[in-house]
């Protein structure tokens, strides 16, 4: 089953490699991993999307907690949560496709953030499935390049992860 795990960890050199090293050493899956400092510059927050049986997920959270740099671990999938991912897509936009591309982007509440006479760069935010749907909706051959951040997640309502 897919799980989305949030980790607060010391913002120190090597902390990221401790986490990624743990996943590769123990053979856990990583679908995506994002990390950046929080409003408290001494802490980083990481969102890991992974999958595995309940036993494996239990081990993942325990092993993460065991890392000395890790302050807190929460499996967001245990409760209500929101996840968002950012995608940038560069598409060919010429002739009648140019108008169509703009329309689809609007439907998905995306934004065109860079324009040349031949292409658009589109910014799109949402859950991973929405980004997938967008890529399906446009002409595949028009896609020149895509880049995705991987999911960031946060608990709903008063579910708060902090020190």
């Amino acid at each position: 089953m897919r799980h989305i795990i949030s980790v607060l960890l010391e913002n120190e050199a090597g902390a990221l490699s401790r986490v990624s090293g743990l996943f590769s050493a123990r053979g856990y899956n990583i679908e995506s991993l994002t990390v950046a400092p929080t409003e408290d510059a001494t802490l980083s927050r990481m969102t890991i999307v992974t999958s595995g049986s309940d036993e494996v997920i239990e081990q993942i959270t325990k092993q993460l907690n065991k890392l000395v740099d890790v302050v807190k671990v929460v499996d967001l999938s245990d409760g209500d949560h929101i996840e968002r991912e950012l995608m940038l897509v560069k598409v060919r936009a010429i002739g009648k496709d140019r108008e169509e591309m703009k329309r689809v982007t609007d439907i998905f509440r995306g934004r065109i953030i860079d324009v040349t006479d031949k292409d658009y760069t589109i910014e799109l935010t949402g859950a991973g499935a929405k980004l997938d749907a967008f890529l399906k909706a446009i002409d595949r051959t028009a896609i020149l390049e895509t880049v995705r951040t991987g999911a960031s997640g946060i608990g709903r309502g008063d579910r708060v992860l902090r020190v």
Binding site: E10, G14, E55, V68, D69
Partner: protein, 577 residues
């Protein structure tokens, strides 16, 4: 307004990084550092030279330094300290670090590093120490500012020794050892990201007791956690209070007195018949400071073919429900949990089902009657088991016994009856050949008056034999008990059982003359070829209080370790003699 200190050209309170490092070791009460100098640590060695509180032990290979620090730590419960240079110094030390990590031994390993400005430029003797050691340390640090040395060292010792212990590497670039800073050693340290638990959850403890009291066929299975957690006394009290059978893992030997009637021997791949049968057929299992590893429970599917309730006590939550599902997990310091369990059982009105216990013990005695450790005592060849039995008698069961890895290790574990914790010192998790001799040096340094035996094989001993030189330099009277069958015995045994007697590369031709070798290092060497000479040789060796005596026992080449649970088989599917 002006800053006075800015006017002083040289703040007299400022020390170099190297001085600070040595002061930190002194503050931690470190008496011995095992190490080997090199370019990146020259300033540290210079400071070691100028003081005499911390004694440096010069090994002959960095692997030996870490194993020696490891043996030191295992035999004393202090944190062992090693000091090595950058690059090859570190890579040589890695085997030692991984050994300590697998067995949760508290060590601080200080490694030199090239100067900060050279890091990442493929400098001479540079390696990514923090990267290389990351998967085999509890934690590691790269110190980038001289001001951080003191607090980093404080953290290193704290992390190494608390919670589930483990090795911590502190990597210090050369320029940091010459830079200056004020020295203040923190008295305590708090880390928001590191807070090991101590007390077990009281509700869980109650549940555990309820389960134990309903047991018809209970079993207590304990591991290295009881030794590391200094809980042998508390365990013994609880086991006697309950009257249940108790088994120890390879790492847990000495946690419960081996000569006691309630002890059913070691369990696992080479465990006793009675221990493995009781483990397989029990209905309530109390596991304490043990981790159900593959050498202990055999095939997990087979293990779970029979139903049993499991209570698992461990300080490391990730050890619980890792390989087996557990019914009552208790996370906590084993000593605290054992005390709580005992207190509540004594205060409660319930006691174990005596009728059921009688039946269960009768069954265990039947298994015990199988005499699974028997061997041919009439053989004209020296049987390795016999040597260990005699070693046990001659040392009155009071020696520290280190071992390498293989058949000799299993025989030592089976035949030397450890009644006390921290006396059996071996590489259980990583299974590192070459561990025994350097570990024995550390044990002997920490326990100068004690009898220290290194039980080894002719293959293992050669992996760190250079340390005989260190033993000479520091006059360490270790007794080397070499069970020489000219084979990598355990490899040979597997080849005999599972590879059609094809002894691929397990016979070692061209062995050195170990007697002459020992003598060339300045020690006493002796070869023993007949069973009747075993005991006199051991007596003579242990009467030489000041000498390292290297005993080369020429043993039966075909002897195998029994019982044996073949890989992939269930615990009760043992090959018996």
């Amino acid at each position: 307004m002006f800053n006075v200190s800015a006017l002083l050209p040289n703040n007299p309170m400022e020390l170099t990084g190297a001085e600070i490092l040595i002061r930190c070791l002194q503050e931690e009460g470190v008496e011995h550092v095992f190490g080997y100098p090199g370019g990146a640590v020259l300033f540290i060695y210079d400071e070691l030279f100028k003081q005499n509180k911390v004694q440096h032990i010069l090994v002959r290979h960095e692997q030996g330094a870490v194993h020696a620090a490891d043996g030191y730590a295992r035999s004393t419960q202090k944190v062992g300290v090693a000091l090595v240079t950058s690059g090859p110094g570190v890579t040589n030390a890695v085997t030692g670090v991984a050994t300590a990590y697998m067995d949760s031994i508290p060590l601080v390993i200080i490694t030199g590093q090239v100067p900060t400005h050279a890091i990442g430029l493929d400098a001479f003797q540079e390696c990514d120490t923090v990267g290389i050691t990351r998967p085999c340390v509890k934690h590691n640090f790269l110190v980038k500012d001289v001001k951080d040395i003191a607090v980093t060292m404080k953290k290193a010792f704290y992390i190494a020794a608390t919670g589930r212990p483990g090795p911590v590497v502190v990597d210090i670039p050369k320029d940091i050892t010459t830079a200056k800073a004020e020295f203040r050693y923190p008295e305590t340290i708090g880390m928001r990201s590191y807070n090991p638990v101590t007390r077990g959850h009281s509700g869980q403890i109650r549940k555990a007791i309820q389960l134990l009291m309903t047991a018809k066929r209970p079993m207590i299975y304990t591991g290295g956690g009881v030794i590391l957690g200094n809980a042998a006394e508390e365990l013994t009290r609880l086991v006697r209070l309950l009257g249940f059978p108790c088994t120890n893992t390879l790492m847990g030997l000495g946690g419960y007195p081996a000569t006691d009637r309630q002890f059913v021997g070691m369990l696992g791949m080479h465990g006793t018949y009675e221990a493995n049968m009781a483990m397989q057929h029990c209905d309530v299992l109390l596991a304490i400071g043990a981790r159900f590893d593959d050498r202990v429970i055999g095939n997990p599917k087979h293990f779970f073919a029979e139903e049993r309730a499991i209570v698992h006590v461990d300080i490391d939550p990730s050890s619980i429900s890792k390989r087996v599902r557990v019914d009552v997990p208790i996370v906590g310091n084993v000593r605290e949990v054992l005390l709580d369990l005992t207190k509540q059982i004594e205060a409660g009105k319930h006691e174990p089902d005596q009728e059921a216990m009688k039946t269960w013990w009768a069954q265990i005695e039947l298994w015990r009657g199988r005499d699974c450790l028997k061997y041919d005592r009439a053989s004209p060849l020296i049987k390795p088991q016999y040597v260990i039995e005699k070693l046990y008698q001659v040392t009155k069961g009071d020696a520290f016994v280190t071992s390498d890895v293989g058949q000799h290790q299993m025989w030592a574990a089976q035949f030397y009856k450890f009644d006390q914790p921290r006396r059996w010192i071996n590489s259980g998790g990583l299974g590192t050949m070459g561990f025994g001799l350097p570990a024995a040096m550390g044990v002997q340094l920490a326990n100068p008056k004690a009898q220290v035996a290194c039980v080894t094989g002719e293959s293992s001993i050669q992996m760190c034999i250079q340390e005989l030189s260190t033993c000479k330099q520091y006059r360490l009277p270790v007794k080397v008990v070499l069970l020489n069958n000219k084979y990598m015995g355990m490899v040979r045994q597997w080849q005999e059982f599972f590879h059609g007697n094809r002894y691929a590369e397990s016979y070692m031709d061209a062995l050195p003359d170990f007697v002459k070798l020992a003598e060339s290092y300045g020690h006493v060497g002796v070869r023993i070829e007949k069973p009747e000479d075993v005991e006199p040789a051991l007596k003579e060796a242990f009467s030489r209080k000041k000498d390292l005596v290297f005993m080369d026992f020429v043993t039966d080449q075909t002897e195998n370790v029994f019982p044996m649970v073949p890989g992939g088989k269930g615990l009760s599917e043992m090959i018996l003699v």
